[in-house]
C-alpha cells in the first residue's frame, strides 16, 4: 500500500502501524508515531489500521542541545 512516511512516498506491504515499525526494523521503544497528525501510543499500534495514502511520521530522540 502507498503511504507517505516521513514526508516520502513508500509502497509497503503492511496493514497496521505495528507492521510499519517492524518493516523498517525500528526499535519499538525508541520510536514515536503519528498518523495523519494524530499521535498513536505504542499500545495502539497493532490496532491502528492503515489506509492508502495515510501520512505517517516516525520520529525519535537524536543528539541535541
Amino acid at each position: 500500500m502507498r503511504l507517505i512516511i516521513n514526508g516520502e512516498e513508500h509502497h509497503v506491504d503492511v496493514s497496521s502501524l505495528e507492521e510499519v515499525v517492524s518493516h523498517f526494523e525500528l526499535e519499538p521503544h525508541l520510536v514515536v508515531t503519528e498518523v495523519d497528525g494524530n499521535i498513536i501510543e505504542r499500545t495502539n499500534w497493532s490496532g491502528t489500521e492503515l489506509k492508502e495514502g495515510m501520512r505517517i511520521e516516525l520520529v525519535q530522540f537524536v543528539g541535541g542541545g
Binding site: 516521513n6 523498517f24 525508541l30 520510536v31 525519535q60 530522540f61 537524536v62 541535541g64 542541545g65
Partner: protein
Amino acid sequence: MKQKKLTIAGKELSSRFFLGTGRYPNPFVQNEAIKASEAEVLTFAIRRVNLGAPNEDAILQHLEGMSFTYLPNTSGAKTAEEAIRIARLAKASGLSDWIKVEISVDEKTLLPDPIETLKATEVLAKEGFVVLPYTSDDPVLCKRLEEAGAAAVMPGGAPIGTGLGILNPYNLELIIEQANVPIIVDAGLGSAMDVAQAMELGADGVLMNTPVAKAKDPVKMARAMKYAIEAGRLSYEAGRIPKKKYATASSGFQAFVSK
C-alpha cells in the same frame, strides 16, 4: 556549609550541569564525556527516523543502563504550534514530560522568538509539561515566562554554539534577582570562566553542548565544566570580597623590618 540542591518541578537534582548530546566525535567519547560531567539532565532533539539507517541516530541506545532525566527540545520549530507538536511527540515516547521550548526563526542566529516562546510555554505548562523555555536575556520576558508556568527559565548567554560567553552579565543578574523559579544559563558559553561567572552571578545551573562536544578533548572539558560549576556555586555561597579601587595589604604596615 553543605550546598542546597537544585530542585525543578519537585525533582531534586544531584548536579547543576545540564548537558547536550549533539555534535560529539562518536558515541564512545560522548558517553565518556557524559560520565565525566556527572550531569543528571541530558538534552535531546526530536527528528524523523532516517528510514535508510534507522539506528544511526538512535542516541538512546547508547545510553541504556544509565539513568538520566531526559530534556527533549523543540529545536526546528519556527512557531509555537510546531513546538507544541514536537513537545507532544516527545512526551508520547514515554521517556519524559520535561520539554525545552526552543523556537527560532533566524537560522543565522538561532535566537529564540520571544512571542512564540511565551505562547508555547503557556500552552504546554497548562497541559502539564515541565517547561524549560530557552529565551533571550530580556528580564521582563523571563519574568513573563515564569508567570506563564515555566518550571525553570533558561536565558542564553550568547547565540547557540558561538562560545562568546555571557554577553550581558547585568541582565543575567537582574533575571536571577527577580526569579522565583530556577534560572539555567543556556547557550553561548564557551569556557570554564564563562561557567564560573554564570554560577557566581547566582545562576542555578548551566546547560551546555557545543563547548564540551567540540572541544579538542571533550571528556576532559566535561570534567573542566563540572569543576567550574562547582567552583562558581561554592564561590557564590561563600560570599566574594567586594571590589575596591585601591589596594589593601595582606600584612600590617607596622613592624616593618627597616632601620
